[in-house]
Symmetry: C2
Subunit: 245 residues, 2 copies
DNA sequence: ATGCCCAATCTTGTATGCAAGATGGTCATT
DNA sequence: AATGACCATCTTGCATACAAGATTGGGCAT
């Protein structure tokens, strides 16, 4: 993933893997574009021209176009008919809408997981949780978030609902993108940790309804303070940052 | 060369619309394939060969391939890498998974709709509901289902959450497909009507939590009785369970 | 000078060609 | 006769050619 070398081309001259990539070019292209969008290298509103990306990524237009459809399904780009594809904007109201849906899905996942979770899985999750506490104390945000992702992923897996998993996964890239925004998720670390702890308790007690509600709330709490849903388009002049808790 | 149906071609010789279709070929192809899958003309498990469909629909492989991706995102077909595209199976456990997710989305929609619905919209919905009662008495199932769709669509629209709408819409074709199965939705007409009535009352009272729960249950009740796993973790309302058949 | 129209160019949408992988049947070997 | 390898063919994945709509900049008329 750190191959941000200047050459974006997928294959170099004489690449022995050249033939081996067949059948996955569009997936690779989609993955690469997804990275670029999430990292902000391709900023919101940017027009993506097919030939330009073809040259950068080193494939023809066909797999690029297929990748576009994948990314459009993930909400990362918008396809304008007979016009360019543009990187989707991500404004605050959109994020709120996204979080509401994602929260509902996580709630459902928690509820279903409660019905199926095994003791071993509860124990495993307890271990992950204590790791998170550790990392929080060390201030290692990167690894903390990694474990965080792992836990959420685990709940979804335990829920064992393929439709849920697929829907959740299709929304995830946008959520990650929102999380990467500077003013989101500022420093509610401590609060989030407490919420995780409560959710774990609910899971261990197999209290589906409670976990469902906690998961939803946990997620909505990740929104910037009190984004009630009334404040539409981002207030431009508000430069206040929330004090760290 | 006689196809199963010669009228499948999108354009006939000398079609004046021939040029006007540009930019929508893959959409039309997707729509046509979607229909064929929902109607059962393309049965589950059937292998879809590109060239064959090209001839039937009258376009080249490119739009067909793009249509395949659209349908795959809707869960109607499955793309086997380097192998054919096949019409997705739709077995009972899948349907249950689907309904759980869809029910959660409808629940969220109801909750959000309660926060935004206007008196005029409540009135309109009351009108639709009474139409349904009428059609139920007349036994006009077709129109009944049409109004039914309209009401659900209206709730989603009132919720005014684009992410929710898009996610819901992407799941909808599969739900419609499940509804078309013979042994689903047998004759719980009357019960469904009663549930709709309760939901309407909750909406009129702006009781989001209640509507959310009712919507979820309403949807899950559409599953054939005894569709598999243990029933939901809903002990508080267990007296409500309908032991129908 | 300003505004409208047209054409050159760019960009996307569609069709088709070509190569690699999958499929299926036949033949040789045990 | 059964089994496994091989070859012909089919099908998909990718690349590229071609056409139509969109964009834009300049020229012309007012």
């Amino acid at each position: 993933m750190s191959e941000t070398d200047s050459s974006l081309a997928l294959d170099l001259p004489g690449d022995p893997e050249a033939g081996r990539r067949r059948g996955r070019l569009h997936q690779e292209a989609a993955a690469r574009l997804r990275e670029k969008i999430l990292s902000g290298e391709l900023p919101p509103g940017m027009r993506l021209r097919e030939v330009q990306l073809c040259e950068q990524i080193g494939v023809s237009r066909t797999p690029i176009r297929e990748a576009f459809r994948t990314l459009a399904a993930e909400g990362l780009v918008e396809l304008l008919p007979n016009r360019s594809v543009v990187v989707a904007e991500l404004r605050m109201p959109d994020i709120e809408h996204l979080y509401r849906v994602f929260g509902a899905l996580e709630g459902l996942a928690g509820e279903l997981a409660c019905q199926r979770v095994t003791e071993a899985q509860v124990a495993e999750m307890g271990r992950l949780l204590s790791q998170m506490v550790d990392l929080h104390q060390k201030g290692d945000r990167g690894r903390y978030m990694e474990i965080n992702r792992q836990i959420h992923r685990m709940v979804i897996d335990i829920a064992a609902n393929p439709v849920l998993t697929a829907t959740w996964a299709s929304l995830l890239p946008r959520v990650e993108r929102a999380r990467a925004l500077p003013n989101l998720d500022p420093n509610r670390w401590t609060a989030a940790l407490l919420e995780h702890s409560k959710m774990f308790t609910a899971l261990a007690a197999r209290d589906g309804k409670l976990l469902s509600e906690l998961a939803r709330q946990h997620f909505l709490n990740g929104l910037p303070y009190n984004s009630g849903h009334a404040d539409e388009s981002a207030p431009p002049t508000r430069s206040r940052r929330r004090p760290k808790d």
